[in-house]
Amino acid sequence: MDAIIECQDVVRVFISRALAGAGKKREVVALDGLSFTVPRGIIFGLLGPNGAGKTTTIRILTTLLTPTSGQARVKGFDVVREASKVRQQFGLILGGERGLYGRLTGAENLRYFAAVNHMSRELAKERVKELLQMVGLDTASDRPVEQYSRGMRQRLHVARGLLTDPEILFMDEPTIGLDPAGAQELRQLIPEFAHQGKTILLTTHYMLEADELCNQVAIINKGQIVASGTPSEIKRRFSKVSVIEVIMRQSQPGATENLKPVQGIERVISSSDGPLQKLTIHVLPGIEVKDEITQVLGQSNIESLVMRDPTLEEAYLSILK
């Protein structure tokens, strides 16, 4: 598959000074030799903790930030030397409250951004109507955005990102701050964009979101890619534990403490599954512990005992440790 987005040894250093420029200089290395490629036509997730460099990466690829060194290309165009060509290739969807004119209506916001993107009057009119309907804001399109809820604003962000029907979408934490229903609604739209042939680069720190949506992921930490592949590959390759889930018939408050001494058990997490107690047991790979677990907890107390693949979150936490 050909690469539509490429980063090669990208470094970005931020320099700040205290006391409005007169004080001590401080350097923060946000990206430290970042390299990855995104093939055309997939949903690519960039995962990482806060401060890992996800947003900095998006800003460089969308020409809002210049790299200190290294090269980044979008559809073959260099983000520094050919920035004006790069800006014609993508739509940008950011999370958060900012980025919209509160005193303008939803439709007016979209018309403004259609105008700055050189869309003709007729095309803009048609596209604004279509997108407002698609994101469910057609009945609210004549209300000022300052009256919109958080979820409505985020949907307007999505509509704006799709205005020019771009081939590439950059989505920076698009579900941040949304309630579960709002986030789910938004997530349901993303695969549709991919079916239309778009390439999506999505940053998130919600592992479930990445696992659900992404064809490929890269995990970024301290400005570098530390793992990349499909979600399944990452789970298999990087998780340092196997996972056994036990549902207890009766709650056993001491179950966690009783299991810890068992050789091979790394960690025990107790939680509720409705009225039942659930134990999530992290086990070192290659060590058989089912018999010991059954013995400690008591066969008659165990409703079910299953071994499952680690989640992307568990693999991610293993990588970051």
């Binding site: 020409t63 930030l65 919209l100 005193r103 916001n109 403004y112 700055v116 993107n117 050189h118």
Partner: protein, 261 residues
């Protein structure tokens, strides 16, 4: 042209927070009338019959600066505070068209302010319009409004960098108030200050305005009107260069999204 007008309308309605009827009426109607009355009576109190007229015309010009500089500088600061400027800078927007579109709808506000100032001066201070050479007078007003709008666009660069439109407006307007001949004739300043004043907006325009008010024909005032227009063009150009430079420097330093200076 349609896209240019959409950008003008959107930045005006979206970023000009004085566009609520109470703020608008007080800034466009009440403010110029109040200032005219204050300074015209001050002139009358000074027992110099010329002073009242001198102040009235100067303050009417200054009133234009207040509404335009205030309106445009706040637009620039707010565009950055709202985070909307990032979406502009990530787009293939024509930077010159976007920059120019920001001043267009503020221009009529300057003319309205001048109109209300003159109305107040005529009704309450008995300013006598009997000798006015109307062609030169009207053109002088239009050109002063243009150069003030251009000056405001230039100050807009400082407003977007500092995120402090009130400070920028205050300083920008104070410079005009003191140095442009609004109430203090520039002849009282040292020569070098007088030369500096001539490259500020409104200075040359006020010369033309006062001469036309006293009856000078267009041919006599056209030199100052042209100088005023060229001054405006200069500020508009400098402002655009500043706008472009701001984008480049902010992207290089990574300061576009900063909340604090």
């Amino acid at each position: 042209m349609y896209n240019f007008l959409v950008q003008s309308y959107s930045t005006y309605k979206g970023l000009f927070y004085w566009l609520q009827w109470m703020s608008y009426v007080s800034n466009v109607v009440l403010y110029p009338i109040a200032y005219i009355l204050m300074y015209s009576f001050l002139g009358r109190f000074s027992r110099d019959p010329e002073a009242s007229q001198y102040y009235a015309l100067g303050i009417a010009g200054y009133a234009m600066a207040f509404i335009v500089v205030g309106g445009i500088t706040q637009s620039y600061t707010r565009d950055r505070q709202l985070g909307t400027i990032s979406f502009l800078f990530a787009s293939p927007a024509n930077r010159l068209a976007n920059y120019l579109s920001r001043g267009v709808l503020h221009y009529p506000n300057a003319l309205l302010n001048f109109g209300f100032a003159m109305l107040g001066a005529w009704l309450i201070v008995d300013l006598n319009f009997g000798s006015v050479s109307w062609t030169g007078f009207a053109i002088a007003v239009l050109v002063i409004a243009f150069s003030l709008m251009a000056y405001a666009q230039f100050m807009g660069v400082f407003a977007i960098v500092s995120r402090n439109w009130i400070g920028v407006m205050s300083v920008g307007n104070a410079v005009l108030f003191i140095l442009c001949g609004a109430i203090i004739p520039i002849t009282v300043f040292p020569a070098y200050i007088g030369e500096l004043a001539k490259i500020l907006p409104m200075t040359n325009g006020l010369f033309a305005l006062r001469e036309a008010f006293a009856g000078a024909p267009l041919s006599q005032v056209s030199g100052n009107i042209l100088r005023e227009f060229l001054t405006g063009l200069g500020y508009l150009t400098l402002g655009f260069l500043g706008f472009v430079m701001f984008e480049r420097v902010a992207k290089r330093r990574g300061t576009l999204e900063l909340e604090a200076l």
